[in-house]
């Protein structure tokens, strides 16, 4: 679990946000203050799909599954 969480955090901080002034922690709300925009959400979903080895259906793309990195990993698990 923590491997998947660390991997996702590394991706979000290193590639997705790529902004030294913004560092997401495991429980940082990802969808407040414009951290994730309409392009980044697509990249994030594509990355999670690779991580878990399956497509994510649209119905699963809701706040209760995506609020923070911890929530994402708890909901989707890993491959």
């Amino acid at each position: 679990m923590s491997d998947a969480r660390d991997k996702l955090l590394d991706y979000i901080n290193g590639e997705l946000l790529a902004d030294p002034t913004r560092r997401a922690a495991p429980d940082t709300p990802l969808f407040e203050d414009g951290w994730i925009d309409s392009l980044k959400i697509l990249k994030l979903i594509a990355y999670i799909e690779l991580m878990i080895g399956r497509n994510i259906p649209d119905e699963e793309i809701v706040m209760k599954n995506f609020r923070t990195v911890t929530v994402i990993v708890e909901h989707f698990g890993s491959k």
Binding site: F31, D37, S38, L39, K40, I41, L42, D58, V62, M63
Partner: protein
């Protein structure tokens, strides 16, 4: 207030058809006088709510300039929906675009609420009871700080859910989960909208076999339109906007199918007595 009687939606639709009150004709649907009166009755109730909530009513033109829809990003999201007319005008796909155009390049001294109604058109490809190509939409638009707009949306959601329940409509509130046929950034915008719960729909069951259809939606736009149309709050804060939309023919049809045509039409007659 009306009491419900058991009537199946199929029987109600047969009655509506026999009474010449709901007549599908090719890609259009023609409404008879009682259904039109019911549409107007629903609208009058919504306007009453809006005026009590401090809304200013706007009278808008029949067509909307194509450039307004371009500025609003409509072509990026729903290019296939647009109904183009002549001379750069389009049938509006929703009433509220007129409001953003009106607010363009302004600075608001205080939060504001507006309401307008428009005859709208969309090239709808999905066939469903109540999904019309040409329809009437009443909207309430509110502009202010993020928190203020969010509060207004909640108030309107509660108010209209209670109104629908008073009328004995069988409804549910759901986060919108439109099918994401859009590609690229437009798909990203739709996914963000879904995750953030920006669009909530009030859905009513129109027939026994179909999925419930949205009769109203309660929407947050964050700063999307204020950036696109360059309006802000006087204190320098970024303006957020939200809107509540009513598909008036869908409301009338939901009432006629749920209560039965007689009881639904009686709502209007009771008012006139």
């Amino acid at each position: 207030m009306t009491t419900t009687k058991e009537i199946s939606t199929d029987d109600a639709m047969t009655q509506l058809s026999r009474l010449h009150e709901w007549m599908p004709s090719g890609r259009e649907t023609v409404l008879g006088p009682h259904m039109l009166a019911l549409v107007d009755w629903v609208d009058s109730k919504v306007v009453e709510f809006a005026l009590k909530a401090g809304a200013s009513e706007l009278r808008v033109s029949r067509l909307i300039n194509r450039s307004v829809l371009e500025r609003a990003g409509y072509f990026e999201s729903f290019p296939a929906n647009i109904v183009e007319e002549s001379d750069g005008g389009c049938t509006p796909p929703a009433a509220c675009y007129h409001c953003y155009a009106k607010l363009s390049s302004t600075s608001l001294q205080e939060p504001g609420v507006w309401t307008c109604m428009a005859r709208c058109g969309r090239n709808e490809h999905k066939e469903e009871t109540g999904r019309l190509q040409a329809f009437t939409m009443r909207e309430i638009v509110f502009v202010g700080s993020a928190a203020w707009v969010r509060e207004r949306r909640q108030e309107w959601t509660d108010r209209i859910l209670a109104f629908a329940q008073t009328l004995h409509l069988v409804v549910q509130l759901d986060a919108a989960t439109d099918s994401f046929f859009a590609v690229g950034e437009a798909r990203g915008r739709k996914l963000l909208q879904q995750i953030k719960g920006l669009k909530i729909e009030l859905r009513a069951q129109m027939d026994a076999k179909g999925t419930p259809l949205a009769i109203s939606s309660f929407n947050l736009h964050e700063a999307f339109f204020s950036r696109r149309f360059d309006f802000q709050l006087a204190d320098g804060m970024e303006a957020h906007s939200g809107c509540v939309a009513f598909g008036l023919e869908r409301w009338a049809l939901a009432l006629a199918l749920t209560l039965g045509p007689d009881q639904a039409f009686n709502l209007v007659e009771q008012e006139q007595r």
